[in-house]
Amino acid sequence: MIAMTTTWPDLIVFIAAAAMAVIGALGIITYRNPVHSALSLILTLLGVAIAFLEQEAHFLAAVQIIVYCGAIVVLFLFVIMFLGVDNKEDISVEPLVAQRPMAYASVVVTMVGILAMLSRGGWSTGAQVATGASPGGAENVQAVGSAVFTTYLFAFEATAALLIIAVVGAVLLARRDRTGESISEGADA
């Protein structure tokens, strides 16, 4: 587990990916403008995508960039600009008494718990399954595809239904009420 066999290119790529992910994550929670937070989110997602690539999950790295950076963040930006909430949130005030210290304490407890659990487990050096290996290179896409379409076929079909339901629900929720019986008293965004 010690990085004795780590080569320099791998190390540089990992450090770059980790720096992108952590700096982007810190940017999300410190920028006061939601647009800047969304752009920081892209930085984090790209960092995680590089980490995927470095672990030979090529299909997921591509999907991460296409779906997250290409669709989800654009959806965030669209909603931010559609609502016009580029007003800055004052993050210096603390409306709830002792919210920050309690948040710090919760995060520290959670992190210590996760890291202690992982280190007790020997950093994921468990028993390796004999079948269904995760190959890298050009066979990664093939392996993910055959797993999704054979072993996880039912779950895959369920996600299709889930996406349809989500889209219909989103349209129903965000639709303007045409009947006018509710309290939409002007000044719609």
Binding site: E56, L60, F76, M111, L118, W123, S184
Partner: protein, 101 residues
């Protein structure tokens, strides 16, 4: 690939912690959603790392499904944010103190 798994797991834990802190302290619903995405990404990174170390493609298939569920969640969540903004002219969750719309 010779970077040890533990480094990726620590990176994922750090990202998860940052996302959790943001979720607990920020009050804009949009930022809270971004922090949830951050935590989901940390879990995805953990899944991929275990998938590599245990040589099991199931971890990557799980990440695929997490991506789909995250997309659906963001779609519905942002629609709720839009609906709330129509009523309240704000996305701050502190404003949502009444059950009645």
């Amino acid at each position: 690939m010779t970077i040890p798994e533990s480094w990726f797991l620590i990176l994922a834990a750090v990202i998860f912690g940052i996302g959790m802190f943001g979720l607990l302290t920020r009050r804009s619903a949009l930022i809270m959603f971004m922090c949830i995405e951050l935590m989901l990404n940390a879990v995805n990174l953990t899944f991929v790392t275990f998938s590599r170390s245990l040589h099991d493609i199931g971890g990557q298939a799980s990440v695929f499904f997490i991506l789909v569920v995250a997309a659906a969640e963001v779609t519905v969540g942002l629609a709720i944010v839009v609906a709330i903004f129509r009523r309240r002219q704000s996305t701050a969750v502190d404003e949502l103190s009444e059950l009645r719309g």
